[in-house]
Symmetry: C2
Subunit: 316 residues, 2 copies
């Protein structure tokens, strides 16, 4: 039996773009969109909503900005079944640059914030609500937040007008027991809110932790095709769709677009399970040093990386 | 806090050998042995115990047989901390070819069987007990066993003299809820037995399902370096050791041997998460057709494989 409240969000372009500065060709984004449409996925997160003043178009591809013209160019002419989502970072989007939903192809804005930015996130989120969008707040890096700060943040979020709050394992540090504990806390501190989950795969637990969340009542589930995403990547969408029982889901279009569009990226960017990402996951740290190591010529010198991260002398 | 009853079994050579007919050089096996020693791993499964008449030495490497001379050659001169384990398949080892433990470097024999072979497995296991070995029985492919057959098998196993019985997810088909349910059943039907778990990573759940087993009271845990093993491979040993809290464990020697000895194998054999293995996991099938597909020139034609396995016309 399936839970009709469950919604699946594909983050392929948005989170995958963190690995290539959103330099995806239009054909790629269109194919992912068509596949999500055909697979019954509920939302496709097509990128970040950023002001043009925040980033350079010379360095970043269109999905760092998600201008309406770019969106229309890639989804035009395709019957729209999957809703479109964008992520917004605090300080990188001016309120005035956010369109009205009625003028936009975007359906949902997800506001990402760290714990010290919760008040700013609520302000931005309310602004997006007032412009007509569905809105979530995604509280990142919870694995590093102290208990009092977390309780306070959840109490603030409980009082805001945003209905959907995400539990985010930014560093891939959580075990299922952490998901159990935090989901219970989120529900207790924010009665009536819908909870979402976004996981990273540093310890090969992204899918498992998403299932743990489902069992505990989480209803918004993030995934990406073949797990593509920052560092170790995300919960593989094809696994999630195969697990969920709602007959509206169909995994075949996802396998098709993985074969056609995702496989070629395996040779260009290194997402997935690699020892440096495992090390930052185990140590509950941001993957930036692991990503730098993976980009270096010494990618396979994983002992040296482990020693640096744990401050062991090299011949310990 | 850690549970002192927990024992970790490294299956790198035994399960990894299923991918290369155990054609590991002596240096490889020795390095894995030294790493397990240094990491505090409890058992290293060095291969299968087979009669020389069952397989050809021309086709298969030494760890298909685990003759004492081969073992002595690779572990000789190294202080032995990790115990040695071998797996025995029904019908591939004559009782007379099993040495006395007192004449052998082997400490533990694990008897692998399908449900219809439980009586034969008990006979072989009792023989090994009588020769002085620690013994487990590993009931394979439980995900395909009907309820009545399973209950009967567990009742037979409950009555035998073997203390350790393994829950084996041969096809990588189980979710954590299956592990929860089956662990409870194993404990209820076989009171007093120690339960072990051996998982496969077809759905990226090998490590997560091992944790689920730990939470439910399973104490014998299988893993392999970087997950090397048949098809999608096993629970990565480096993740398991990083998770377990017993201070005797040290992950660094494992990372070192992964860098030195496992990485070179990535270019030669394809274990890990691949769509064909995911498909057999989701469909609860033996990975042999997926392995054949991965060995073919059309490895990346995953839609064709999916269609064949699900009997869809190619342009459905």
């Amino acid at each position: 039996m399936f839970r009709p409240e469950i919604k699946v969000v594909d983050c392929t372009v948005r989170d995958g773009g963190l690995m290539n500065k959103w330099q995806f060709e239009d054909g790629f984004v269109r194919k992912v969109y068509e596949a999500n449409n055909a697979a019954g996925v509920d939302y496709m997160e097509i990128g970040y909503l950023s002001s043009e003043s925040a980033f350079s178009r010379e360095q970043y591809g269109p999905w760092r900005f998600c201008a309406e013209a770019d969106i229309e160019r890639v989804i035009g002419g395709v019957e729209k079944k999957v809703k479109l989502s964008v992520m917004a970072d605090i300080g990188r989007i001016d309120f005035d640059d956010i369109p009205l939903r009625s003028d936009s192809s975007i359906d949902m804005v997800r506001v990402a914030c760290y714990v010290h930015q919760v008040d700013s996130a609520i302000a931005l989120a309310h602004h997006c609500l007032d412009k007509g969008f569905e809105v979530t707040i995604n509280l990142m890096a919870v694995s590093t937040v102290g208990l009092r700060d977390l309780n306070e943040a959840l109490e603030d979020l409980a009082k805001c007008r945003v209905d959907i709050i995400y539990l985010v394992d930014s560093f891939g540090a959580f075990y299922s027991e952490d998901i159990d504990l935090l989901t219970a806390k989120y529900m207790e501190r924010m009665p009536g809110k819908t909870i979402g989950i976004h996981t990273h795969n540093n310890q090969q637990l992204a899918f498992a932790n998403t299932i743990a969340g489902i069992i505990r009542g989480i209803n918004y589930l993030d995934g990406s095709l073949y797990g593509i995403g920052r560092g170790a990547g995300n919960c593989p969408l094809e696994l999630l769709i195969s697990f969920l029982k709602n007959p509206k889901f169909n995994v075949r279009p996802l396998i098709e677009v993985i074969e056609q569009e995702i496989f070629p990226w395996r040779d260009k960017i290194d997402w997935g399970y690699f020892i440096p990402y495992m090390v930052t996951g185990v140590l509950n740290q941001h993957p930036r040093t692991a990503m730098a190591h993976m980009d270096s010529e010494n990618q396979d010198d994983v002992v040296a990386y482990y020693d640096k991260m744990t401050n062991l002398p090299e011949n310990a």
